[in-house]
Amino acid sequence: MELFVQSVISGILLGGLYAAIGVGLSLVFGIMGLTNIAHGSLMILASFFIMILSQQATGSVILSLILTLAIMAAISGLAQGFLVNRVLDKGAEPALLVTFGIAIIIQNALQLAFGADFKSIASPFASINVVNSKWVVITGEYLLNFIISVAVIFALHFIVRKTWFGRSIRAASSSVVAAELMGINTKRTYVLTMSLATMTGCIGGLLVGQTFGFYSYSGMSYLIIAFGVVVIGGMGSIVGTLLGGVILGVAQLLGAYFFGSGVQILIGYLTLLVILTLRPRGLLSNMTRK
């Protein structure tokens, strides 16, 4: 029984982290209909920046994160402006290949630059437990991940729903032509959307780097988690991503509770497939673009 409660709580908290990994993907898809394969690799690139900056330049994780947000916003904006925007209106497949290409370049360039060994970002909360009872343990790390993720998701929700920028990207997502007639530069909006999405990925990268650590090749394995939470939440639904993350996290840990750790990941995937079969457009898809 203790283990059951523990699994559910850990699953929910872990799900918050999953949601932080995925939310940028959801935004990009919702706004420009792009399946961004490079999202995971961009996230790991951010992890590397944060690690290197905090170790060798700033000495502070927060400061490094702020610098990395700026750097990654610039990098991803440039990639969007010069590469992805050019093929976006040519159909799904060319854009898919371009993002694949970017992912491959980032992964291998990271290995060339930083080697193949395993890295992590030091976490001040790694050894602090918030709740440490006989019944249940809540680790500071997981709780902090969850709080940060929820904050990021609601901030993003607010930006998209309530600000002028948000209105312009929503306009671009519902009709490119109408938005352009209204004087919105959709290509520029796409660049800003990609930058914003990658900035959420930076925070995902920080949390992943602190909680699990990373290789230059970790991007792809986190990408599948990101895709999973985004599709069950409903592509384009920002709050749905949080729900998706929590479902996946809980499904994995309860899977381990009932059937053992070997099938933990499998149960996660099967849950995703069952939900997608029942709700083929995800649980909360309100902003989805056809």
Binding site: Q111, D117, S120, A126, S127, N132, G213, A256, G262, Q264
Partner: protein
């Protein structure tokens, strides 16, 4: 009509381009079949097919083809390879003036092909080395992902191959081999030393398995179960886990509940890092934690944070305290490791030992063979009996030379935050060992 003609010509041209591309793609290759020349392959006598008697007089170098994981997760093993290559080839080519082959002193050249840490690409890379570069000997390395497909290529094209860095058991699943040979560690011996080490420690003798579903995990489960049967040890097996698992709550709770004091884990570095951190968070620190696969590198142990890695035990595949030396370099294991540390950053990686041993053996084999004829070369490889940085090595009946894998422990060091000490080496008694310690309770928070 004119337009029609234009189209027709273009279409035929396109077809020709396609034929050219497809048939002549290996084009370089197909022309080397008859005449000499060709792209970067050095001149070779026979085209494909049977290895007939070579007229080696026009050879200018001995080509060693190394299909290696230069990129991907396994690339970590290749870290010191360029350094070792420079050192060893300098010894062979410059100091000894090459190797006497058919009456001519020839230098060795190593050609790399990237396996991308993927077994599909490993086969492609090795095939390219054999058929395009026409290497004289094929080398393949690191884990079954590298060793097994490369051995398959050697068997297919009947070329002598030397593989290393995998468990003997899983390499042999692809056997029996005729052309492929191996320098691998043996799981039975590895586990024997691990259990010997546990014997030296005061625990409740409860062993918990934290094994992945990979080949090492499966082999580990089989071997440990067999060896611990009928002893005072009691096994607790919560079931295998899948690589890439991010949360071990369930596993840790079960281990804790079963009051397991000895953990034997088969995990890659990221999984173990997550697992061990979560163990600490859940307040579960076993007295002994033996980890295979991950935690071979000092940087990984430092990554565990503060004192997290203190006292972790693992099976070391090479250590600078091995009382052996390399005949090619004329240096002892300690001297080689120290030289690495003085010229590079950080703690020496154990794969240096494998790389040096490979060059020791290559040098020895080629010198004894005195020719590049494939069959003679294979016989020379199989007759190897050499003292190298692993001690004395020779092939067993499975065409494998078994190298030590002995119990080692990470302890706080002088030069580096952590340094490793051999703590049990009964399977290779020539290697000195110290007494292991129980994981200090101070690491608990």
């Amino acid at each position: 009509m004119k337009k029609e003609m234009y189209r027709k010509i273009l279409m035929v041209a396109l077809c020709i381009v396609m034929v050219f591309a497809m048939a002549a793609c290996g084009g370089g290759g197909s022309s080397t079949g008859d005449s000499s020349g060709g792209s970067n392959a050095s001149t070779e006598t026979t085209g494909g097919g049977e290895p007939s008697a070579p007229a080696t007089t026009d050879k200018t170098e001995i080509l060693v083809g190394f299909a290696a994981p230069l990129t991907g997760p396994l690339a970590i093993f290749m870290g010191p390879t360029p350094w070792v290559e420079a050192l060893c080839l300098d010894a062979i080519n410059n100091q000894n003036g090459g190797i006497l082959v058919d009456g001519k002193q020839l230098p060795i050249r190593v050609i790399y092909a990237d396996t991308e840490s993927d077994s599909n690409k490993a086969m492609e890379a090795a095939t390219k080395l054999v058929t395009q570069d026409k290497v004289d000997i094929l080398v393949g390395a690191w884990t079954p992902v590298g060793a097994n497909p490369i051995s398959a290529v050697a068997e297919r094209y009947e070329i002598p191959a030397f593989t290393f860095g995998a468990p003997e058991e899983s390499w042999l699943e692809g056997g029996p081999y005729k052309w492929a040979t191996g320098m691998h560690f043996n799981y039975d011996l590895l586990c024997t030393d691990i259990i010997n080490m546990w014997n030296k420690l005061d625990t409740n003798k409860k062993v918990g398995f934290v094994l992945d579903t990979d080949v090492d995990g499966a082999t580990g489960r089989e071997v440990y179960t067999r060896m611990l049967e009928g002893t005072e040890y009691e096994i607790f097996d919560p079931g295998a886990y899948t690589i890439g698992t991010t949360d071990f709550t369930s596993m840790i709770s079960k281990l804790k509940e079963a009051n397991v004091e000895i953990i034997t884990a088969d995990m890659i570095t990221p999984d173990f890092t997550t697992f061990w951190k979560q163990c600490h968070q859940y307040g579960y620190i076993p007295k002994v934690c033996t980890i295979n696969k991950g935690m071979h590198y000092e940087a990984d142990v430092e990554n565990l944070g503060d004192d997290g890695g203190n006292g972790i035990t693992f099976s070391s595949l090479w250590d600078k305290n091995f009382p052996f030396s390399s005949p090619l370099l004329g240096m002892s294991a300690t001297e080689i490791a120290d030289l690495w540390q003085s010229e590079n950053e950080g703690f020496y990686p154990y794969s240096i030992g494998y790389d040096v041993a490979m060059y020791d053996i290559l040098n020895d084999v080629l010198t004894r063979a005195g020719t590049l004829d494939k069959a003679t070369l294979l016989d020379a490889i199989l007759a190897t009996d050499i003292d190298t940085v692993f001690g004395n090595l020779s092939f067993n009946e499975n065409q494998c030379m078994v190298v030590p894998a002995i119990a080692t422990q990470w302890l706080p060091g002088e030069t580096f935050p952590f340094e490793k000490k051999v703590v049990s080496s009964e399977t290779f008694p020539a290697i000195p060992s110290y007494d292991p310690i129980i994981i200090p309770a101070t690491t608990q928070k």
